[in-house]
Symmetry: C2
Subunit: 515 residues, 2 copies
C-alpha cells in the first residue's frame, strides 16, 4: 500500500486532467482564465420514489483540501516517471516546472451556495474561475467530493422527514464505502441525522458518538453461562446513565424486554434513568408497540425505543403508519408510541439505496480570449438548449407571503430584476415563461457567495450545528409538496430575461457555427 | 476538518465497540480469546440480475491497517474526554491504561481466503481469533474494509465477463464515494478492470493510469475559434503514441470520426500508430459499428473504439449483442467490431449499481472459558440452523475431472475426509446431504491460510498482477452456469460430516437452553 498521502494529495484525480493540462500548457493556455459550473440536472430517483430537492454537502472539506494540496516534488517525480506507449516521457520538463510553480489552487476563485442548503436541479451550486489548467485538474476533486456527500445528505433529509422529526442515528460504517463513510456520514449529519456511531467522524466534528452494544455482548455472557439478564445487569452497572439495551438476541417479548425491565427497575431504584431499548430484527412496528406496552406497564413510559435493520425513508414511513393503526389494538396512544421512537439507519442511508450516485457535472462554461473577454464553450452534441451560460452569475431565491421559497432565479451577476411591478421567469430549457408580481415576493435572497479566494476559504469552517440550522431553516421554507417523499412537486428554477437572452444568443451562435 | 489521521487510525470504528470492550475489561474478559468469522450469506442481487459468486478484495489493505494502528496517546485522550449523560467519564482510567498497553492487533490471528479468489455465501472468508476486546473493536474495520471492495470486485468481474474479455477501464472517481473510490477502484482492478483513470490509485499500484481527454478540451479549442479538427491535431502532436480521440463533442459520424481519421492519417504518415477513438454518448453500439466502418475505410481497421457512458454488465451485453446482429448490415464482420471494443465503466461499477452493499457479517462464534475451552456463542433469535460453528476450520475446494470447482466443503481443522471411497457433503442449513465418489475429485485445495500473525502480514503484499491471476484462474475453474450474468446456478457449499455433527450438537444445546 502506497503512502496514504498519495490518496490525500493532488494526484487524487483522473489521469486525463493532467494530459489535458499539459496540452493547455503547450498551447500557451494554461494560465488563461476559464469558468466551470458545478450543478446537477436531476434529483435522485430511487425507482419507486424520488427526491424533490437536494441538500448540498461536502463543500468545506473540498475547500479545505484545496487550501492544503499542491504539486510537490514527490508528485512531480511520479509524473516525471510516466512513460508513453512510445517509450518517451509523457510529461515534459517545461510542463512539470510550470506545475511546480503554479500547481496549486491559489489563483482559483470559487463562488458557491453555502453547504447545508436546499438546492435544485440546473442551479449552479458552485462556479469556479481560474487558470484553465488548474481549474481543469480540479474537476475530479469537485465531483468526487461534492456528489457523494450531497447524495447522502439528501437521503438523510428524507429519512428525517419520514421519521416525523424523531431522532435519526447514522449507523452506516460497516457496509458503507470504506473511508468514504466519513464524508458520507458527515453528509448524513448535515442532511438530517442527529448523531453517528462513527467515532472518528464524531470526534472530528466535536460531537458525541452514539452506540451501546451489539448482539455479541449478550452472546458472550450467554456463552459463559451467565445469560441475557445478567449481561444487561453488568452493562447497566457500567453505564447506568446511558443504558440502552439490545433486546432481540433471544426473543424480544419473551426475554429481551422483560430482562430489560428488570434491569431498568434496578437502575431507577438507584436513581438512574434508563436510556432505551433497541430492536434490530423482526416486525419492527409490531415489536415496538408490544415493547412499549410492556415498558408502560412497568412504569417506563418515557423510555425511548430504538429501531434498526435495513431502514430507509419508506420503511420508516411504513413502520410509523403501522404504529398509527395498530397501537390502539394494544390500548396505546399511537402518538405516544411514535413519540418514543428513535431510528438507527445504516446501509440504505450511506449507500443512498435506490440511487447510488448523484449526476453532478462540472461543465466548462467559458474561457477568456487573449484580451480577457469571455468566449462561451459549447458541447454541440447535447441539446443546445441545455447549454450553460457563461459569465458571472447570481442565483436569487424568491420567497412568497407564506414564507415559503417559491422559485430560484438564475440571473446575470449584478442584475436585480425586482424593481419593476412584475418579473419574468423563463424556463431554463424551454421557450416558456411566467410572470410574477413583484409585490408577491416578500424576500429575495442571494444564494451564491464567494467561498474561496487567494487560496483560502473565505468563511471559517461551519460547525455541524450551523450546517444543520441552514438545512432545517431551508426545509421549513420549502413547500410541503416539494418535500413529499413520493411524487414530489417540481420546484421552479427559472432564468431572468437577461439570462434567457444570453442563452438564446449563445444557442443561435452554436447552431450557426454547427452548420 | 480534523487531522486526517483520526480517520486513518484506530478510532475509525463504531462507538459501541469501545463501550463493549470496556465492559469486557471490567468483567475480566478483555484478554479472553474469542473467535469471530467473517462471511456473507448471499451474493449481490441487482434486481433483474444477480451474481453467482463473489471476488474477495480489501484484505491486504485491511491487514496493512492492522499492522500500523494502535491506541496512542491522542486516541486515549479523545476517549478520556468522553462524558456520559450523567456527566461522569465514560471510559475509566483502568480501561484506558489497558488500551494503552494492549490496544493493538498484535495478539490477533487471522486466517483467510486469499484476496482475489472466487468465494461463495456461507463460507468463512476470514476467521479472527484474539483477545475478546481487540477482536471486537476490529469488527467495524473488517466490515468497512472488506464488504465494499469485495462488492466492487464482484461487479468488475461481471463487467469483464460481459465484455467477452475485451479491456475494461475503471472510470468511477467522479461519482464514486469520495475517498472510498480508491479501495473501490482497487477492488475493480482485482475483479476484472484492466486499468483505472485514478492517478493516485494507479501510482499506489505501480501501474499506468489511463486517460486521454474530455469534451472540455475540444470545447476550449472550439471556444477559441480553432475547432475540433485542430484540437485533435494539437492533441495528437503532443501525444502521438497514445492518441485516443473523443469524437462526440459535435457529432460522432459527421465530425468526430472524420476529423479523427484526418489526424490519424497524419500520425500514420509520421510513423505513429493511432491509439483509438472514444464515444461517450448516443446509441453506442450503432455508433461503434458506423465508426468502425469509417475507420476501416480509411485503413485503420485495428484502431480500438472505447465506449463509455453509464455502462454496466447488462448494458455491455446489450451493446455486444447489438453489434453481433447489426454489424453485417454495414458489411462488417461482427467479431471484428467486437474485437476492437474497449469499455470505460464508471458510476455503475464503483457504486455496484443495483446492489450497493454486500451483506458481509463478522459474527462472534465462540469465546474461551477460563480453562481455554471453546464456548460456542449463539444468537437464538436467528434461525438456529444458521448458527456458525466454533473452532478452527478449513475450507476445501473440490475439483472434478473437467478441472472445474465442484464444491466448497467446510471442515473441522485437521480433518481430511477424502480417504474413504466416498465423502458426504451436508447442506449448511438443511438436513440434506449428497455423496460424492472420492475418485471423482481430482484436486482438493485448502482455501483458508494464515494471513496475520504477531502483528504482521504473513505474506508480502500481493501485486495487482498476482491478484488478477488468482481471479482469472478461479474464474476459469468456475462452471459457466455459475458465471452466468442472469439466473446463475447456485454453487455447492457444504459441511463435512464432522462439521455437521458439531453443528447439530450446538443447535440441540441451543434449543435446550432456550427452553
Amino acid at each position: 500500500m502506497a503512502p496514504a498521502s498519495v490518496f490525500d494529495g493532488v494526484l487524487a484525480t483522473d489521469q486525463y486532467q493532467l494530459t489535458m493540462a499539459q496540452l493547455y500548457f503547450e498551447e500557451g493556455l494554461a494560465d488563461r482564465t476559464a469558468q466551470f459550473d458545478y450543478f446537477f440536472r436531476s434529483n435522485p430517483d430511487y425507482g419507486t420514489h424520488q427526491a424533490g430537492y437536494c441538500i448540498t454537502a461536502g463543500l468545506d472539506w473540498l475547500l479545505g483540501w484545496m487550501e492544503h494540496v499542491r504539486f510537490g516534488e514527490r508528485d512531480l517525480q511520479i509524473l516525471r516517471d510516466q512513460a508513453t506507449g512510445g517509450g518517451g516521457r509523457r510529461f515534459s520538463a517545461g510542463f512539470l516546472d510550470w506545475l511546480g510553480e503554479h500547481g496549486d489552487f491559489s489563483a482559483v476563485e470559487v463562488d458557491a451556495v453555502a453547504e447545508g442548503r436546499v438546492v435544485h436541479p440546473n442551479v449552479p451550486v458552485a462556479i469556479v474561475r481560474g487558470p484553465l489548467a488548474m481549474a481543469q485538474i480540479l474537476e475530479t476533486a469537485f465531483l468526487n467530493r461534492l456528489n457523494y456527500p450531497t447524495l447522502v445528505a439528501t437521503k438523510a433529509s428524507r429519512v428525517k422527514e419520514a421519521a416525523r422529526g424523531r431522532p435519526v442515528l447514522e449507523f452506516g460504517m460497516r457496509r458503507g464505502p470504506e473511508t468514504g463513510v466519513h464524508a458520507g456520514g458527515r453528509g448524513a449529519l448535515i442532511g438530517g441525522a442527529d448523531a453517528t456511531s462513527n467515532l472518528a467522524l464524531a470526534t472530528a466534528n466535536g460531537i458525541d458518538a452514539k452506540g451501546t452494544h451489539a448482539h455479541s455482548m449478550v452472546q458472550v455472557f450467554m456463552a459463559l453461562g451467565i445469560g441475557e439478564l445478567e449481561a444487561f445487569r453488568r452493562f447497566a452497572r457500567l453505564y447506568p446513565d446511558e443504558c440502552t439495551l439490545l433486546v432481540d438476541t433471544i426473543d424480544v417479548l419473551d426475554s429481551g424486554v422483560p430482562n430489560a425491565v428488570t434491569v431498568f427497575k434496578e437502575l431507577a431504584t438507584a436513581g438512574h434513568r434508563p436510556a432505551g431499548i433497541r430492536i434490530d430484527s423482526g416486525d419492527l412496528a409490531h415489536l415496538a408497540i408490544r415493547s412499549a406496552a410492556l415498558l408502560d406497564e412497568a412504569g417506563f413510559g418515557d423510555v425511548p425505543i430504538v429501531l434498526s435493520s435495513d431502514l430507509d425513508e419508506l420503511v420508516i414511513w411504513q413502520i410509523l403508519s403501522q404504529i398509527d393503526t395498530e397501537a390502539v389494538r394494544y390500548g396505546l396512544d399511537p402518538a405516544g408510541v411514535v413519540g418514543r421512537m428513535v431510528f438507527g439507519v445504516g446501509t440504505r442511508l450511506i449507500t443512498s439505496h435506490g440511487d447510488p450516485a448523484l449526476g453532478g457535472v462540472y461543465k466548462l462554461v467559458a474561457v477568456q480570449d487573449a484580451a480577457g473577454d469571455w468566449l462561451p464553450a459549447i458541447k454541440v452534441s447535447e441539446d443546445v438548449a441545455k447549454v450553460a451560460v457563461p459569465g458571472a452569475k447570481q442565483v436569487y431565491r424568491l420567497y412568497s407571503g407564506d414564507g415559503l421559497a417559491t422559485a430560484d432565479l438564475i440571473a446575470v451577476a449584478g442584475e436585480y430584476p425586482f424593481t419593476a411591478d412584475t418579473v419574468d421567469l423563463f424556463h431554463p430549457h424551454r421557450e416558456v415563461n411566467r410572470r410574477l408580481a413583484t409585490a408577491d415576493i416578500t424576500k429575495v435572497e442571494e444564494l451564491l457567495g464567494a467561498v474561496f479566494r487567494n487560496g483560502r476559504r473565505v468563511d471559517p469552517t461551519p460547525t455541524l450545528a450551523q450546517l444543520r440550522q441552514r438545512q432545517e431553516r431551508d426545509l421549513e421554507q420549502l413547500h410541503p409538496g416539494v418535500r413529499r417523499l413520493v411524487n414530489p412537486h417540481i420546484y421552479h428554477v427559472s432564468l431572468t430575461a437577461a439570462m434567457k437572452q444570453r442563452q438564446r444568443e449563445l444557442v443561435r451562435a452554436a447552431l450557426d457555427s454547427a452548420v
